[in-house]
Symmetry: C2
Subunit: 384 residues, 2 copies
């Protein structure tokens, strides 16, 4: 595919942001991205918004319009896309398509979620609408429950250990300490994870990403237009998206995320890259087992070897393929609709050499965003 | 813009469909569109879904994945887009972009809404999430209320009469009698409208579109690919989308829908057409005043003359510019996420000469889909 440039990035602090409204979050991240790109608001031709459930979290659908309005950017087109926790990744992809189609030259793509304005029970119920509601959520299934089934099966099939799962969380918390936008800045140990409250056996509290408010934005531009504004563009060279069976019980094999495998295949093909070319990656660790599934599905390690690779430090900063240098969903936080865009922000900072104390040496990076228990996956490849 | 072909169309019956599930509705319309195009399921490369609020109406987000799964079309990408009642129009536009970007050659674009599975009070509250929730819905404002304010002001400024509003409903009910997919097949009179229960002064029950379940699908293809399958493609030659202030009180003038004017401007420019070239149109008559705003904003009549043009029969079948030959949202029904796609289905049937007793003579048609009280508008131009 023809490449599209990322010329600006912006993030809000991730966390429990009681004092900030839904649209303010987006506007804050968007303004930061626009300033970073050195463009003016009037240069923006369209907005894409990734958001999972404004309708249930803040009683607001039609949020793309609300955002364009509150950002003072009307009358430009503003479009929300949604595929649960993969909404942000989808928004990036639609932004890329809108440029490659010739419709636009400069677009703002953002993701946002305000999750703490409702009681925890409603948050859990709303997240469960990303599953097959009639077959899973209505029966009482929750997302920790779904991922717990996958984790248990992965342990059974491949000998993945409880401690290896914990090591994902330990690594990501370690990385987040150096990310000023992360929700958590607390070092944890394997023992801390194993002693944290049980959520859905074998997953414990510290295996799970938190409930988070936050927004992330990027400015995308056609290659020609990018050169007018910045001398350090990062290019999106590959994009892949795939769907799979939404309900876990209908999947052929729950320990391999088909959607990840297929989305990665498309992204690698479009970028003319292979797994071994990737030098840094942000993957979807909503639960610790999620990161193990991701690095296996993306081809960084063999199927079944994700736990061992984590234990051996291959995915740590300084390892063979650093994963979730931002702290990941686990420690940076997981405002669901924002996550896929925040992943792109982190890879852009890494490729630009602006990642501070968590900086790695990389020219090629990858983002991997999952919706539900693996029903949707979106993969992007970014290069200097 | 380069044109994109519509090679297949499908619809479910619109109405209170208690016996049919959300995903079944989409699959039914999708299968019909695929058969109409003469393609096979395996030819479909991506799915776009317009849906306003699966999360609140049927407790299901992540519906694009659910639909791909239940349609047996995994692992292809499946993407939901949303802008309230304009979701279907947005889905069409994203489908067009996905083809023009070079990502895909054949995509299914559908819209679906299942609105009758919840009690009426929740339906009203959910529709109100398309407004500026904090400033309008939270204060008790409903959609009939918002459009009533616009209607009253239009009557004050331009002398539009209560009877002229009613004539929109009378015309659209007349048209729907010949549409087998329409929710209502009942002829009504101006007196019926004026004697129907008051909903929000001056709007009465028969000024309002109904609560509807339903789905609509089209198959889009690149021009090259289209020729392999059909000899009667209809082309999308123009696409426009715009946003405006979401809350009514912040709008400079509530009797002109800026978003409609701006979206139309873009669509006309891309298609190299003018209002006078349009020979048939499906416009967003969620309330009778909506059709008057639409024909004015789209440039079919002068601002303020929409009521008079309706009274004089200009928008009737056989008139100068037939509007809502399908019965419109008022009488065909308004499953909100499906509406924008259903409008394209009607125009395709008209341009193909397959509209039965409601057939008009037209080579160029237009669709006009609105989100909220005018915060979003999407316009498409279609030609033989």
């Amino acid at each position: 595919m023809k490449r599209v440039a990322v010329i600006g990035v912006g993030l809000t602090k991730f966390g429990e942001l009681w004092e900030t409204s839904f649209s303010q979050l987006f506007v804050e991240a968007g303004a930061m991205a626009i300033n970073d790109a050195g463009i003016d608001g009037k240069d923006v031709e369209a907005i894409y918004v990734g958001n999972m459930s404004g309708g249930r979290f803040v009683d607001q659908e039609h949020i793309s319009c609300l955002i364009a309005d509150h950002a003072g950017l009307t009358p430009i087109p503003a479009t929300r896309v949604e595929a649960a926790c993969a909404s942000g990744g989808l928004a990036i992809r639609q932004g890329v398509m809108s440029i490659l189609s010739g419709f636009h030259d400069i677009v703002v793509v953002g993701g946002v979620e305000k999750m703490t304005d409702v009681v925890t029970e409603k948050t859990t119920q709303t997240l469960a609408t990303a599953s097959d509601s009639e077959w899973e959520a209505f029966m009482g299934m929750t997302f920790p429950g779904l991922y717990a089934l996958i984790a248990r099966r992965h342990m059974h099939e491949y000998g993945t250990t409880r401690e290896q799962l914990a090591m994902v969380a330990v690594k990501n918390h370690e990385n987040a300490i150096h990310n000023p936008y992360a929700q958590f800045h607390s070092k944890i140990t394997v023992e801390d994870v194993l002693r944290s409250p049980l959520v859905a056996d074998p997953l414990r509290l510290l295996d799970c990403s938190p409930i988070t408010d936050g927004a992330a934005c990027v400015v995308l531009a056609s290659e020609e237009k990018a050169r007018e504004f910045v001398d350090n563009p990062v290019y999106i060279t590959g994009s892949g998206q795939a769907s799979s069976t939404i309900a876990l019980h209908d999947r052929k094999k729950i320990t391999v995320t088909d959607a990840t495998v297929n989305a990665a295949k498309e992204a690698y093909a479009r970028a003319k890259r292979e797994p071994r070319d990737i030098q840094v990656a942000e993957v979807h660790d909503a639960f610790t087992i999620g990161e193990i599934l991701a690095i296996e599905g993306l081809g960084f390690v063999e199927i079944g070897k994700g736990g061992k690779a984590t234990e051996e430090g291959e995915t740590a900063i300084g390892g063979r393929i650093p994963v979730n240098t931002s702290g990941g969903l686990k420690a940076k936080g997981h405002p669901v609709g924002a996550t896929g865009v925040a992943q792109v922000v982190e890879i852009v900072l890494q490729l630009r050499g602006e990642a501070g104390k968590r900086q790695v040496d990389a020219d090629v990076g990858l983002t991997h965003n999952v919706g539900g228990s693996g029903g949707t996956a979106v993969v992007h490849i970014l290069e200097k």
